[in-house]
């Protein structure tokens, strides 16, 4: 039950981040990628607060860019070598 409010009075302050983290830990407790997922979700929430949906898209773009940047350059170097061979 996510909504804790009841007639006895409960905490309504909804912390979606905690809820999603809990869900991840519950569903993927044995996954080696759990830690990465927790980091990503925290980043996503931060970005959403700072810039909405677009900012979330931007962090994903940025991660992809960082991952591929050097590799693409090296691949281009090989492609260039291949043209010469």
């Amino acid at each position: 039950m996510y909504w804790e409010a009841d007639s006895n009075g409960g905490l309504i302050l909804t912390d979606y981040l905690e809820l999603v983290k809990n869900r991840l830990e519950e569903n993927y407790k044995d996954s080696p990628m759990l830690d990465d997922a927790v980091v990503l979700v925290a980043k996503a929430f931060d970005s959403e607060s700072a810039g909405g949906k677009t900012a979330v898209q931007d962090i994903l773009k940025e991660i992809v860019r960082k991952l591929t940047e050097g590799t693409v350059t090296e691949l281009e170097a090989i492609e260039s070598l291949l043209e010469e061979v």
């Binding site: 991840l24 997922a37 990503l40 979700v41 991660i63 492609e79």
Partner: protein
């Protein structure tokens, strides 16, 4: 007695949205109503409360990534909102933001004193209010935009509006923002490029391997076994070739090349090229070689002359034979000329005779004409009557018949002569051509005989003699050449052997070149970059899985949360729906939440169903409900959630921005009845631009402690607000 929950005492706004100079709006009553037209500043005033508490302004889409200067009045460099609340304690919240600064500052003051001592004002504020922005949107502040989305025909927009009503917009944004497409595209693009490069490498490798194999086979054809193809054998061959070339060069006085030991296929090919040039030089420097070359050149020339002379003599013979044959058949040129002259003379005479005959006929006929006209009617001698007309006519006819016959004969003769003349002229033309041809052939034979005479150094009397002398000379030169060539044969054999070694060197070099290229390609295949690409692809795959995990978890929370809210609040939603809509048939309402994949993303889909509790009949709200009734559904959801939420958070006010959109009079009356009840528990802040609804609200709260603000037309100096 202190209130249990926080209510708004007043709001002071400056430089925020349409507000310019500082303006304080008092909220010191249980009911606060904002009346005014569109764009008069009502929503900005309500939004100022939201921004002050949460640094959010949900009514307008603002790009949060920028400095959010849309929040500021265009002529102000700073927005400032001070919200004073009373409740369990006094709480003064101040939020301000400067132009070009993204971050807004928050300051709170409590009963205890000024906010400087509060280390984390955001946390302190939330602790006091006991709710976050999502809860605020869900349970305190009904935005008109959330209702508006419910009134459209677009199911996606309706689901989005429901998500907003349930305070799930943040999760929806995150779910939408975690778009796997970018990751998938990156994986696809990188994989394609990696595969493309590998394919290209494989293609190059196949080509190089094939070429290497062919080069090895070619080397084998020069007696080099496959196993021996290598720089070592190439260098041995090079060494003996260089030694032989040096030795022979020295013996013939030719320049001896200095070539370093080849270390690669490239230098091996260069060395072979240099040595080949040396062999050429040796050949040219061999004793007697020049004479042989000179003899060969002279022989070529003489043979050419001999061949040309033979051809021209044949041509002359043919021309001579042709003209003789012609003369035998048609006679000589002189005879033909004579015959032509005779024929021409005959023709002239016949023409003359024809002209004269014609003239005579004319004279006779003219005489007869005269007689016919002027002859006396009677004979002057005998006086007998004369019939001159008949006689003349008879004579004329006789003359015409005789002369006509003569002229016909002459014409036939002339035509015969003409034909004969044409034939003779044609034959003379042919005879001229044949004579010209013979003349030309003779002239050409004479010319070449002059050349032959010059070449042989003696006069030539005839073609036959020329042929005989040329034959003799060629035989003589051939004999001389053979005599000179005999001692060079051994040297030539030596040089040919060197050339074979050079060919072997070249074959090895070509094979080595392809082997080297093949090795380079194999090395490229093992490049670290490919390993790094594989590693990146693995990391991207991992990212894809992580994003999928996170998006999945967000979607589950979003869906479970919405379901939980619906389950929990449904009885109250139904109650408000029954009271607000008062539908004559579909008296009951059900809301079902199911995850649905839309545009590649899993989102909450809300199925809103009206039903009749008696007969169980159902209808989808979207199919049968009016926009007013859909607004009632939205209001029911909000009021139910607000009512539920009132148990736990510490906010004792409710904000409804323009809640009467598309409602008819009965709906508005029902809403007023509900609001009257709400106002007994919470401070009610309500804005409306609907004059009918305004009247109803005034009437509803006429006995309550209420304040109404009339918003006039907005100007650049800010909203014109008047308490009434």
């Amino acid at each position: 007695m202190a209130q249990k929950k926080f209510r708004i005492a007043n709001v002071e706004i400056s430089g925020f949205r349409g507000y310019k100079d500082s303006l304080t709006v008092g909220f010191g009553t249980p009911v606060v109503m904002f009346f005014g037209g569109n764009g008069s500043g009502k929503s900005s005033t309500l939004g100022a409360i939201e921004w002050c508490l949460f640094d959010e302004f949900a009514s307008v889409a603002i790009d949060k990534r920028g400095s959010r200067d849309e929040l500021l009045h265009e002529q102000y460099s700073k927005a400032n909102v001070i919200l004073e609340m009373t409740g369990p304690k006094k709480l003064k919240v101040t939020r301000s933001k400067k132009r070009n600064k993204k971050q807004a500052e928050l300051n709170i003051e409590l009963d205890e004193g000024p906010g400087e001592d509060i280390a984390n004002p955001e946390h302190e504020l939330y602790s006091n209010l006991n709710l976050g922005f999502d809860d605020f949107v869900r349970a305190v502040y009904l935005h008109q935009e959330n209702v508006r989305g419910m009134l459209t025909d677009d199911p996606v927009a309706r689901d989005k509006a429901m998500d907003r009503l349930f305070g799930l917009e943040r999760l929806r944004n995150i779910s939408d923002g975690l778009d796997l497409k970018k990751v998938k595209d990156a994986i696809k693009s990188l994989s394609a490029r990696r595969q493309g490069a590998l394919n290209k490498l494989q293609s190059h490798l196949d080509e190089a391997s094939k070429a290497y194999e062919e080069a090895e086979m070619k080397a084998a054809s020069f007696e080099i076994p496959k196993a021996s193809v290598g720089l070592s054998l190439a260098n041995k061959t090079f060494r003996k070739t260089l030694d032989s070339v040096s030795r022979i060069s020295k013996s013939v006085g030719a320049e001896c090349p200095e070539i370093p030991k080849p270390g690669s296929h490239g230098s091996l090919l260069n060395a072979a090229e240099v040595l080949r040039s040396s062999v050429g030089r040796i050949r040219r420097r061999l004793p007697g070689q020049e004479e042989i070359s000179s003899l060969a050149s002279a022989l070529t020339k003489l043979n050419s002359l001999k061949s040309d002379l033979a051809n021209l003599m044949t041509r002359q013979g043919v021309a001579d034979r042709d003209i003789k044959s012609f003369e035998k058949e048609h006679g000589s040129h002189e005879k033909l000329t004579k015959d032509l002259n005779t024929t021409s003379g005959k023709m002239i005479r016949l023409e003359k005779e024809r002209n004269e005959t014609g003239s005579k006929e004319r004279v006779i006929l003219d005489g007869l004409e005269y007689l016919q006209e002027f002859a006396p009617a009677r004979c002057p001698i005998c006086g007998e009557k004369i019939d001159a007309d008949d006689a003349c006519q008879h004579l004329k006819e006789e003359v015409q018949e005789v002369v006509g016959e003569k002229l016909k004969q002459l014409k036939t003769r002339i035509a015969e002569m003409q034909e004969e003349e044409d034939q003779l002229e044609s034959l003379l033309e042919t005879c001229d051509d044949l004579e010209d041809r013979l003349e030309k052939a003779k002239s050409e034979v004479d010319d070449i005989l002059e050349d032959v005479a010059k070449e042989l150094g003696q006069p030539i009397s005839s073609g036959k003699k020329g042929m005989e002398l040329l034959g003799r000379k060629c035989t003589d030169l051939e004999a001389q050449r053979k005599k000179l060539e005999k001692p060079l044969k051994k040297r030539e054999e030596e040089l040919q052997e060197i050339e074979l070694w050079l060919t072997q060197m070249e074959a090895i070099a070509v094979a080595l070149r392809w082997k080297e290229r093949r090795d380079e390609i194999v090395k490229l295949q093992k490049e670290k970059a490919f390993k790094r690409v594989d590693k990146t692809l693995k990391e991207l795959g991992k990212l894809e899985a992580v994003v999928d995990m996170v998006a999945g978890a967000v979607q589950i929370v979003q869906s479970d949360f919405a379901k939980s809210l619906v389950d929990d609040a449904m009885p109250q939603i139904k109650k408000f729906y029954g009271e607000l809509v008062g539908h004559p048939y579909y008296k009951d309402l059900q809301i079902e939440v199911t995850p649905k994949t839309t545009r590649g993303r899993v989102r909450n889909s809300y199925r809103i169903v009206g039903s009749n509790p008696k007969d169980g009949a159902e209808t989808l709200a979207k199919d049968r409900f009016s926009t007013g009734q859909m607004n009632c559904v939205a209001l029911s959801v909000f009021l139910a959630l607000a009512n539920k939420g009132a148990y736990s958070h510490n906010i004792g006010f409710l904000i409804l921005d323009d809640p009467s959109q598309n409602l008819d009079t009965e709906h508005k009356e029902a809403l007023c009845r509900i609001l009257a009840r709400v106002a007994k528990k919470s401070q009610l802040v309500i804005s409306s631009q609907d004059s009918e609804f305004q009247k109803m609200l005034k009437s509803t709260f006429k006995d309550a402690k209420a304040i109404t603000y009339r918003f006039g037309k907005w100007s650049i100096n800010g909203p014109k607000i008047k308490a009434v």
